[in-house]
């Protein structure tokens, strides 16, 4: 064990810091959509042009050929510099890396990484949330085309994306996870209709996406026919991992801000405030060391799997504790909307829902990690 940067990692961190100092946007992140979306996309493009996107991906697909440790250094430094999170959900790209044909990789990955083309993930449906394998959107082959009909829900950035990775039923209605296929669907295809879904905090975070006889070429299939479940698993395992996400430094900055408010109030010496801040800080440090352990496993080539459900539960717990503590410390000021804390708090309630609810994570842990038979 040696938790320090190697000489190469330290040099990488130094180069990154220098670049960030010159490139982090000085104007604040807009509060509302779609301005915030455009701001984040512009930042992604700048990161890409600097060579800081998809660090651990192979060079031939636009990555930098580095390791997961460099990815985590990027996340740490983005957070430390107060930079916005990257726009592209790289975990969706993992599905392409693993299951895409050479033609699909060269066609879609560059635009994906450079944020010239924005993607969304058409997985959940009104009747298929946690029970994703029960999804009802259908894709029926017609010559060398597929015809897609159905509805997707909770599609993040669905209103803005140019492409959607759609899971559709290609088997019988009873085939569950064995009869699902993943398709690449341009969102400007005739028959695609999108409606924004407003979050409890007022943000236009999600969309409903409707498919009415949408025709796409069979070559838009990602992975094998009826092999969509594997594609999904690859995506979700990465989505759930703490290591891929740059949240830690962001959380720590929020806790520092909150501590500033406490100081302003003369609560610096107040034991109950110290205890509450200490509890959040303890969670952050545990998450930091836990993420380092996971990253180290990954850097040594261990595959990402069900253990990410543990990481996601810990992250969720941490984020929700942080924002709840913020409201406790702010008290009545939160009611007046100071600093947007209440909005962030409302958003934190989604952490235990998206990427698989906490209940589903516990199902995965008890079944796949503890091996308890149902």
């Amino acid at each position: 064990m040696d938790l320090r940067d190697t000489a190469e990692q330290a040099a990488f961190r130094e180069r990154l810091r220098t670049w960030l100092a010159a490139n982090v946007p000085t104007e604040p992140e807009p509060e509302t959509m779609p301005a915030r979306f455009h701001y984040v996309v512009a930042w992604q493009k700048r990161l890409y042009s600097g060579g800081w996107v998809a660090l651990s991906w192979p060079k031939e697909y636009g990555g930098q050929g580095l390791g997961p440790v460099e990815e985590s250094i990027l996340n740490q430094e983005l957070g430390r510099a107060g930079a916005p999170a990257a726009a592209s959900f790289t975990f969706l790209g993992r599905a392409f890396l693993t299951y895409g044909t050479p033609e699909q990789k060269s066609r879609y990955l560059p635009g994906f990484l450079s944020a010239e083309e924005i993607w969304c993930q058409g997985f959940s449906e009104p009747e298929a949330g946690s029970d994703l394998a029960s999804l009802r959107t259908t894709a029926i082959q017609d010559g060398d085309e597929f015809v897609i009909n159905g509805q997707k829900l909770w599609t993040s950035r669905g209103s803005f994306a140019q492409f959607c990775l759609v899971l559709a039923r290609t088997g019988t209605a009873e085939s569950r996870h064995r009869g699902i296929t993943a398709f690449i669907v341009p969102t400007d295809s005739p028959g695609v209709v999108r409606q924004p879904l407003i979050m409890a905090n007022g943000d236009e975070e999600f969309a409903e996406v409707f498919f009415d006889n949408v025709r796409i070429p069979a070559s838009n299939m990602l992975g094998e026919l009826n092999g969509g479940w594997k594609v999904t698993q690859a995506t979700l395992a990465y989505e759930r991992g703490a290591a891929d996400l740059g949240y830690l430094a962001k959380y720590e900055r929020m806790l520092a801000q909150l501590s500033g408010i406490a100081k302003e109030r003369g609560l610096a010496e107040d034991p109950s405030t110290a205890e509450a801040v200490g509890q959040v800080y303890t969670h952050l440090e545990v998450l930091r060391l836990h993420s380092m352990r996971r990253l180290s496993d990954r850097a040594q080539g261990r595959a990402v799997g069900a253990e990410t459900s543990i990481d996601k539960l810990m992250m969720t717990q941490t984020e929700q504790l942080l924002l709840r503590t913020a409201l406790d410390v702010l008290g009545p000021e939160a009611v007046l909307g100071r600093g947007g804390w209440f909005k962030k708090y409302l958003y934190s309630r989604a952490a235990s829902i998206y990427g698989g609810t906490s209940q589903i994570q516990r199902n995965i842990i008890s079944g796949r990690l503890l091996g308890l038979a149902e």
């Binding site: 801000q257 302003e264 801040v277 200490g278 543990i310 600093g339 516990r362």
Partner: protein
Amino acid sequence: MDFSLADEQELLASSARSLAADMFGESVARQALGDDYSKADEGWSQLQAAGLTSLLIAEDHGGGGGTLLDACVVTTELYSALAPVPYLTSAVAAPLLLRGVRADRAAPLLTALAEGATYGLVVDKALSWPPAGPEVVCLDWRPGREGLLLDAERAELIPFESRTGIDPLHPVGVATVEGRAARAEADLLAQSQRALAAVRVAAAAALTGCLAGAAQLAWDYIATRQQYGKPIASFQAVRHMAADLLVDLETCRSVSLGAAWQVDNEPIEDAVRVATVAKAWCGQAAVRAIETAIQLLGGIGVTWESTAHLYLRTAHQLASAFGDTRTLLRQVGGQFVAARGGRGDGSA
């Protein structure tokens, strides 16, 4: 950045695990409850012979010259096996605290420890045990064992009297020592501050062991216990509680192992901070998880016959020793607010 255990450490863990399984476990713990320590002492001799009790003693004094991480790996295994031995005190705390004691006084004690001697550890306010009157407390003390009292000038062995505590596997003694109870943490030398941080991390590793042992009891039980014609592990309410045990266990492992490395390798402020965090997390997670394990064990879990209460007793004693959870949270939170609290608008 590398979080993995070295091959030798993996080997250390597996030999500690198999030694603990052979020499300790429920029957030896039960004998200790009846004040029969013959098997426990035999186990200690085996640990000593394997070099596991002297990992933190320098080679000059007959020890293994190992790291805190080595010792933590062993600590977790021993506490998971309910070993009624003074590992945390005689194999971890004493050697580390003796590094801050005058060499001529420390040397004979280190040599004795390397040869397998066991001592109780006198804890006072400086070791985060708040004084309750003039008496000081000695951890891991039992009749026939002496208590080791340490500060920069002194390394003395003194007699103690038995005091009924909550943890029969790690009993305590009390004695009156003039002027000692009020010694504060601030009186510790820098060397001893790092030692205290290390002891906190080792306590976190011990708590991780208690959690691991109790969780395994619960996981085994729910997989076999049948109600309504099937194992209770098939019910989601039960499965979800079982899953929570693993979240607590894995995060405890991460923070205790990572903190062990940091305390050995980083500046004193960082060592103290991360040790505080590790102890605070493992203290609360172990108590919470063992309570959950007892819930999963149902009626049997609240009987004397189950070993669950032994894990819970040890966890509570550890959670209170060397800084209780609440005090540690306040310390680390207070320091964060003082050092990092920017202005309320988010600017530094």
